[in-house]
């Protein structure tokens, strides 16, 4: 033990400073460090690039349609595709004004006087309403059921055979292609009730099938993160398991559960395949769960099928609207979760 005040030969400040400095790091290590840093930055750009490009593209193409008030208030023009393809003359015959005849200027310029003087109004209200209805219906079906299922798996079933079986089936269900869900609901619902069966509710059923496994697994993961001592503290006060779950476990996991459910909602809102079998088609707004309806995703699909510049523009507009709706839902849910999260 060195108790004297003299500094040992090999421990002078200069020497220690040199040992601790960056210069002491070997060239090889510095090169590897720099290479890895660059590689990570490139990987990030590669991952973020398509996202940014996609968003920029969608917004620039879709904004003209969306910024028009008609978009939110008017029915979908029934034969916009055919009219557009048939050329200007026929467009005018059909009641399309001069401005509407030029596809590029239609959405952005015919806002003020469009619907009143017989010009075509590029409306999307039926699909916006339909999207809200189907997603709302699917959420109402899948979220409570999914959360209850997750509570069973994590709080009651734990590792027993039934719980393991459900867990396995949920995983299988996650992997089922969405079109299969559509066919499933088509066969058990639409075929049974005929044209009457095509409705927002049928679409909700199909989307709920899609959402359920996502809700179950994400909620279960979140419940698993709640520390056991909290459950024990509650149990030690003479609390039944279900009251512990409602009073402590679920609130503690709430922000995560909300995120998981949102993921499911966003997924459902964007699904097309299960929708087109089950929802039918309308061009006027239908506020009910019964009767045929349409959604933004279905509109993107069918407008592109129609072809033509106007229809393409409507598809872009529907895409922007869809992204916007999911974004708004996300923000609302985040806010709610933060507001009610336990701290």
């Amino acid at each position: 033990m060195n108790t004297t005040s003299t500094v040992p030969e090999d421990r002078t400040p200069d020497r220690v400073r040199r040992e601790l400095s960056d210069a002491n790091i070997s060239i090889g290590r510095r090169v590897r460090n720099r290479a890895a840093t660059v590689a990570m930055a490139v990987a990030f750009l590669l991952a973020a690039g398509p996202l940014v490009l996609m968003a920029a593209n969608v917004f620039s193409q879709g904004l003209p349609a969306v910024t028009n008030l008609d978009w939110w208030t008017q029915p979908i023009p029934a034969d916009v595709g055919r009219a557009d393809l048939a050329g200007n003359e026929q467009l005018q015959d059909l009641g399309f004004g001069d401005q509407a005849a030029d596809p590029d200027s239609t959405a952005s310029t015919d806002s003020a006087d469009s619907s009143t003087d017989g010009l075509v109004a590029l409306g999307m209200q039926p699909a916006i309403v339909g999207t809200f209805l189907t997603v709302l219906g699917a959420s109402a079906l899948a979220i409570p059921l999914g959360i209850m299922g997750a509570v069973y798996l994590n709080e009651y079933g734990k590792r027993n055979r039934l719980a393991n079986f459900i867990r396995f089936m949920t995983d299988v269900m996650t992997g089922v292609p969405s079109v299969v869900m559509g066919v499933f609901i088509y066969s058990i619902w639409v075929l049974r009730f005929g044209v009457e069966g095509k409705s927002a509710f049928a679409a909700s059923l199909a989307l709920a099938c899609l959402m359920l496994p996502i809700v179950v697994r994400s909620t279960e993961e979140m419940l698993r993160l709640v520390p056991d001592p909290l459950r024990e503290a509650s149990a030690a006060l003479g609390t039944r398991t279900w009251k512990t779950t409602v009073g402590v476990t679920l609130p503690a996991a709430l922000p995560g559960i909300v995120s998981g459910c949102l993921l499911a909602v966003a997924r459902a809102a964007g699904e097309t395949a299960p929708i087109v079998f089950t929802i039918g088609f309308v061009t006027t707004t239908n506020w009910r769960f019964t009767g045929q309806n349409t959604t933004l995703s279905a509109q993107i699909y069918s407008q592109l099928q129609n072809g033509g510049d106007l229809a393409t523009q409507m598809a872009w507009g529907a895409a922007v609207t869809l992204i916007g709706i999911v974004l708004v839902l996300t923000l609302i849910a985040r806010f709610v979760a933060r507001r009610y999260a336990l701290r």
Partner: protein
């Protein structure tokens, strides 16, 4: 019934069947003057012993096929502090968690033997674990307040038990926090999060939370192990103060703590089966605290409390 002990009308009498265990435990007989002759002899000033709350005989705890603890027999008395001491992994906590059936929550845990609470077998089929826990509260090793406000933490138990009226809850919260010596520190921020408190405050909050449901017994599982000496001293003072109203059982790693606060002490140890390398916890000695620390009857107890580990 284990072959290591026989039950006689006087109670459980160890027969010394354990390797090296001359006296496994002090087995009190029903008549008060014969109850704990060793204690009576060594502690002259010992007043008449309080009524028995828990009567444990020949308790073993299993996790699956593994027997974690065996041969626990003791009597825990009202308004006393009973300390469990012993090295890590000897089953103190496991035994403690039998007293309010917390082990039920662990998969595969099961109990053999008898654990009577006022003469009722806690593990009888018609006994409801939730009702047991309502009467026998628990404070855990790590402070585990709910992620709620201070007020809601304390009010949680009474609310579950059905107290709805705001004024009543206010009373209970204030009384419990005062009893836990926390009121003055938090009375101005009852609505703020319990997670913003210091560790010592959190643990006292957990005690207040346990007190709020007015239990008869409070089980404490190393309540001070995560706390500094000052917070520890406060909790020890608190325990001594509230034992007039409650029966307390405390697990502690700290022998001094057991010596300071407890009236009776149980010393647990482990035994390794040389063939299978399986460790089993067992109760070595149970007696009045003064006896355990000044005049233990088992060599292993003496080795432990004098710092020579057996």
């Amino acid at each position: 019934m284990s072959t290591d002990a026989v039950v006689t009308p006087e109670g459980l009498v160890p027969t010394g069947g354990l390797p090296g265990a001359g006296s496994v435990s002090v087995a009190p007989a029903p008549a008060p003057d014969l109850h704990e002759p060793l204690a009576a002899a060594s502690v002259i000033a010992e007043p008449e012993l309080a009524p028995v709350v828990f009567d444990v005989s020949d308790l073993s705890v299993f996790y699956g096929d593994y027997r974690a603890v065996r041969d626990v027999s003791m009597r825990i008395r009202r308004n006393e502090i009973t300390g469990f001491i012993g090295p890590s992994g000897c089953g103190k906590t496991t035994v403690l968690r039998c007293f309010n059936r917390m082990n039920d929550l662990i998969e595969g845990a099961r109990v053999q033997g008898r654990l009577d609470y006022h003469g009722v077998d806690l593990y009888a089929p018609d006994v409801n674990a939730v009702e047991v826990r309502r009467r026998i509260g628990m404070v855990f090793q790590k402070p585990n307040p709910f992620p709620k406000s201070i007020y809601d933490n304390v009010a949680y138990g009474p609310r579950i038990a059905g107290t709805k009226k705001r004024s009543e809850l206010d009373d209970i919260v204030e009384r419990s926090l005062q009893r836990a010596a926390l009121w003055d520190e938090v009375k101005d921020r009852l609505k703020s999060s319990a997670l913003g408190m210091s560790g010592g405050q959190q643990q006292r909050l957990c005690i207040a939370r346990a007190i709020a449901v007015d239990p008869e017994v409070i089980l404490m599982d190393e309540p001070c192990s995560a706390l500094d000496p000052i917070a520890t001293a406060r909790i020890e003072d608190l325990m001594k103060e509230i034992k007039t109203d409650y029966t307390i059982v405390i697990v502690t790693h700290n022998m001094q703590q057991a010596a300071r606060v407890s009236d009776a002490t149980a010393f647990f140890s482990t035994e390794v089966n040389p063939d299978s390398d399986v460790r089993t916890g067992l109760l070595v000695e149970f007696d009045r605290t003064a006896t355990i620390f000044s005049n233990p009857h088992d060599q292993r107890t003496e080795n432990y409390i004098t710092g020579r580990f057996g």
